[in-house]
């Protein structure tokens, strides 16, 4: 028997719905971008072309990532992180995995490509993915709050609340 969830229509519920939609959208976007890259690695047609011919600094970043093999790592974690978000499993961890990726995507899309006009363009996922990542993390802030501790002590995981 599935567990029943009680809710009422208020600001809290609408906020949760909006953040859940963002979580799923971000997850889907990560899955698509990661999968598109791996499709080409297996000789299959990609969903979209991966741009390595943007502004010179952006191109340098992407070319270097590819040449040193880190692009493979990034694209793999995109898929793993995306699946976590879409299937609502280990979401706080999935968001942490996605954060460095979305930040670099944002940095590449806005700073390196000098597309400052797209900074708050809601249709430009190059920028929006990072903001979505942050916003959804705010929704799960209670899982990150224990990380912000001034004097941390070592110890086992015993007693850590789920």
């Amino acid at each position: 028997m599935s567990r029943m969830i009680e809710y009422e229509w208020n600001v809290g519920t609408v906020t949760k719905l909006a953040l859940s939609a963002m979580r799923i959208y971000l997850g889907c976007w990560m899955i698509v971008t990661g999968t598109s890259y791996w499709l080409t690695e297996f000789g299959l047609p990609s969903i979209f072309p991966h741009l390595v011919r943007n502004a010179p600094l952006s191109s340098q970043l992407l070319v270097t990532l590819m040449e040193v093999g880190l692009y493979d790592v990034v694209k793999t974690w995109e898929i793993i992180g995306g699946l976590m978000l879409v299937f609502n499993r280990f979401v706080p961890l999935g968001l942490i995995i996605c954060l460095p990726i979305t930040f670099i995507v944002w940095y590449n899309a806005i700073i390196l490509n000098e597309r400052y006009g797209h900074l708050f363009n809601p249709t430009h996922m190059g920028a929006m993915c990072f903001y979505m990542n942050i916003l959804v993390m705010v929704g799960y802030a209670r899982y990150y709050a224990p990380l912000v501790v001034t004097r941390a002590k070592m110890g086992s995981v015993k007693g850590v609340e789920n």
Partner: protein, 148 residues
């Protein structure tokens, strides 16, 4: 007074998976169709890789016409007479004289062009890969004067 409602966790999960499918379809469509990519042979390759493949088509496979049509943007900025190896049936051989140097979208190739019955010439090609389509949109050739 607010009305309380009940929903099962399973129903919520199924609903979120359905939403995910909708999002996936939309994202694939937006990324595949809407930006009107020019699906050229240079996509998914680094600029250096692109130029390397371009050269292979001409000098190893002898497919100059294919290389011209596939790798070079129809509006590319270059002087066709400076690139005789792109003419159909040309028998040029090329020997690269140093590493291919890449800086962003620019690739520099220093090579010796040879054809039977003609003196070899050393040339420096600066090739620029254009945005959004992975094709060469600018090529400049300098003829080296042989001084060291």
């Amino acid at each position: 007074m607010h009305n309380k409602h009940l929903i099962s966790e399973r129903r919520l999960s199924i609903l979120s998976i359905l939403v995910a499918f909708l999002f996936l379809g939309n994202i694939c469509y937006q990324l595949h169709v809407v930006p009107e990519w020019k699906w050229g042979p240079a996509i998914h390759k680094t600029p250096k890789h692109t130029v390397s493949d371009f050269r292979s088509e001409i000098f190893e496979r002898g497919k100059s016409i294919y290389a011209l049509a596939a790798y070079i943007d129809p509006n590319a900025d270059y002087e066709p007479e400076a690139f005789p190896e792109l003419v159909h049936g040309s028998q040029y051989r090329s020997t690269q004289l140093g590493p291919m140097v890449s800086d962003g979208c620019n690739v520099v190739v220093v090579h010796r062009l040879e054809q039977e019955g003609a003196a070899p010439i050393t040339v420096i090609d600066i090739i620029h890969i254009g945005q959004r389509g992975g094709r060469i949109d600018r090529m400049t050739r300098y003829i080296a004067d042989g001084r060291r």
